[in-house]
Subunit: 503 residues, 2 copies
């Protein structure tokens, strides 16, 4: 078989596996949004069947042979050509899949199912000791997983690479350390300022139906395409890429809070704009897929926070918000509203944190994960380490483990190495956004006029259309001309919140 | 391999094929209710992939071998045991699948796609000559299909058997002939009576949201289980069995008509009650599946018409309807409302027909299908034959072919032999209902008190739980003690409409 024929067959098989995964994605979306209660058990069987089928097809030894036939050919001469990118990424996935023994995969899956149940109970009772034996087992299994996957310096790298391909612990540690010092100072200064917004402005009655209309309008305005998408309700908001022209988002409404659903919709809208603008002719292959979780998060956080919580954005949308919610907002001044949606306050729960304190929540988790994976922190000592760090970074101490180290489901799901992608998303996002501002100096005026198309087009051209051509670290350099740095995020936060809190 | 092991393997494979088909069913339900416009093309690829996968697995020659190993064993000693039923029906499906050459399957699929487009245009322009060449081709292909499937007396039997297993043209012809004479007389008498209900009662403003609440309430009251189901909107109402505890229904709302969505919901609710009460421990095998389209339709028509358009049903629900729609119904007398929802009037469009004239629409189609399949009626002469029969049976002549022989999509979809199942549904339903009344003489009092559980339980016990144990004809005998007859349907219609129209 010629290299070209082998490549064509490789792509055909890759698309087939992807098609099966997208069928599962439809079933999953349905499960989270529509499925009646009774449907759960059989849906589980269907999901297991489809994922088994996809796994079987993607680990077929013939994939390995096809890869070998293409890897020394002219197809990979230019390392960033479509073909070379696909071959590189299919190889990566294939190696990862075949390196891990099926027995370990199954043991992790079994342990995850049990651990999640135990974790739910432990969190309810705020009793870390209940969860400890499971957590110990998970750490052991994830270490084994890292050993099978292989790494150069640090076992953590092997796990991190599952979520942020090519990223290293070394770079994350260095960047986070620089960022941490700046953020701790900024949070302390904000706390010391004594200034507090009037939160009653956003915490009053907001009709859910009108919230939906308002959120849809904003999502459409920033560029989410409803012809190829829709907005639904689910307990945990998410974005579902179901096809080249079918990317759906969900949110949840709090009838007593304007911001939760609105910024949730902006966040998922940001994810979805990325998904909708991947190159559809490469759909179902790595060249048409997102770079990494961190880069995905950079898009959602940029639209949610850097755009969606900005002054110019609300110059346009505040008058509209007043029309939609006259009872709640008619008498409210712009500055008071703007302050209320940008309230910074050290708090215990990550998913409720503001954009200044959020990264500190992540760093703390990263440091603890790294320490227990290295064997430097015994699992039984996690609660103490958590609370000490929390006090250091945010100045407050969690009253119990439910509001401390038991709050996230990640560890109970055997997901270690995932947390850094959230903060990386903020860093990438700020660095992209700073470059976008350089390239388009009048973005603020455009936003104030309700026009977000130039920023969207810039993101599409510079990021979305490239798919997986570049790994995240490389993409940042290609787009911004600089290596990943904490500085743009720090500049962004200091400028915005320095002004708001009069620092 | 022992017969028992072969049977276990056969069941495993049957459930696997069924699981794939249910994945496709979720994708289809999503397509009809939720999918954004952009999603159509890729969804088509997914559906084709899943149906190809299911076809490949269900026609695997090993299925044939497994069947052979079970068919002469003790497993089939009792012909109505669970095992014997499954072996019989899996054999039937397997033989049907392997008898038809792949080439013919593909040609029918291709022709269907083109014909449907042509038919849409022909109907729009009301120009039968546009559709004629495609219809000629479809008739030729469906005759070939019948030849491959095989039959004893009549090619039509081979096609009819695809929708109503074991049913014969001979029995349908005889039963329909008896029914037709009675119905033609009844329709003529109704027309001659000159009595007409005041249709303005049901043709006014009915808030869609309240229609939904009212419809849901009625569906739940007759026994549709919302824990294992849900009600949505789609252009063409349907019932989707997505899992052993996930059966969904759809309807469509007309804000200017109370009946369309309501009786549509009752109809689909009837289908869904059947689906929800199949024996879930046999899910994914014939023993846990519905008997035939005709038997399915007997359940939907019984709940929609025999229960849902009955006087006792509305004794309970009319006061509630007045509460839900006080503006429209406060001043309306019960008898006037009841007459309006039971209006009989010869009309051209089948899907809008009332329960008296409906069967005549079906018979006419059956007679024409049979004639053109036998070669006794040239396709070009269909419009003339249609209009002549229409005049004979219903006393009116379609003004054009769009309202005549071009109205249904069945023939353009190469679906010949399906129509009789609609009228058979009415006959089975009436015969079951007459027997239910014998067994439970106070059904009317129960309905008037809003209690439908005894009828539902009777249907579950006598029909639903048996799955495919008996073929339709046999089931009718087992349940009612008599062979299929037109008489119960005639009695039901004559009694009800004789009283309403004072005949």
């Amino acid at each position: 078989m010629s290299a070209n024929d082998a490549y064509a067959e490789l792509i055909k098989r890759t698309r087939e596996v992807n098609l099966i995964a997208r069928c599962a994605a439809v079933l999953h979306w349905d499960q989270e949004t529509n499925m009646p209660k009774g449907g759960g058990q059989y849906r589980g069987e269907q999901m297991a069947y489809l994922s088994g089928l996809a796994h079987k097809k993607s680990t077929d030894p013939e994939i390995g042979e096809l890869l070998s036939q293409t890897e020394n050919s002219d197809l990979v001469k230019d390392e960033f050509s479509d073909e070379a990118v696909n071959i590189r990424e299919i190889r990566r996935d294939y190696d990862k899949s075949v390196k891990v023994p099926q027995k370990l995969v199954e043991e992790i899956a079994r342990t995850r199912t049990i651990s999640q149940q135990v974790w739910v109970e432990a969190r309810q009772k705020s009793d870390f000791s209940l969860f400890l034996p499971n957590l110990e087992k998970i750490i052991k299994l994830d270490r084994e997983l890292a050993d099978h996957l292989g790494y150069e310096k640090e076992a953590y790298d092997a796990l991190l690479d599952n979520y942020e391909p090519g990223m290293t612990c070394e770079l994350v540690s260095k960047t986070f350390a620089d960022l941490r010092d700046e953020l701790v100072k900024l949070v302390a200064a904000i706390t010391a300022s004594g200034k507090k917004p009037n939160m009653a402005i956003v915490e009053q009655d907001f009709d859910v139906h009108r919230q939906k209309i308002f959120g849809q309008e904003a999502a459409a305005a920033i560029g989410y395409n409803f012809h190829d998408g829709r907005l639904d309700i689910s307990t945990h908001p998410f974005t579902a890429g179901l096809g080249p022209h079918d990317t759906r988002i969900t949110t949840r409404y709090n009838p007593k809070h304007l911001g939760q659903a609105f910024f949730g919709t902006m966040h998922e809208g940001g994810h979805a704009i990325y998904d909708q603008n991947l190159d559809s002719k490469h759909f179902g292959t790595p060249r048409g897929e997102f770079v990494s979780l961190g880069i995905h998060e950079s898009q959602s956080l940029m639209w949610e926070n850097m755009v969606g919580r900005s002054r110019p954005f609300w110059r346009h949308f505040f008058p509209r918000a007043r029309q939609v919610f006259p009872e709640a907002l008619a008498g409210v001044a712009f500055d008071d509203f703007f302050f209320a949606i940008n309230n910074v306050r050290p708090s215990f729960i990550r998913v409720e944190a503001d954009e200044v304190t959020y990264n500190l929540h992540i760093m703390l988790r990263f440091e603890i994960e790294l320490a227990f994976l290295r064997g430097e922190l015994a699992p039984k000592d996690i609660p103490g380490a958590w609370n000490d760090k929390f006090k250091d970074y945010l100045g407050i101490t969690p009253p119990d483990d439910a509001q401390g180290c038991l709050q996230d489901m990640h560890w109970s799901s055997a997901v270690i190495g995932y947390f850094p992608t959230y903060a990386l998303g903020n860093l990438y996002g700020a660095q992209f956004f700073a470059k976008a501002r350089e390239d388009m100096p009048d973005l603020d005026e455009q936003f104030a006029a309700g026009d977000f198309s130039e920023l969207k087009n810039w993101l599409v051209k510079n990021i979305h259309l490239h798919g997986k051509r570049y790994r995240a670290e490389k993409l940042v350099e290609v787009v911004t001309g600089r290596r990943l740095s904490h500085q743009p995020a720090v500049n962004y936060l200091k400028t915005k919140y320095g002004e708001l809190y009069g620092l």
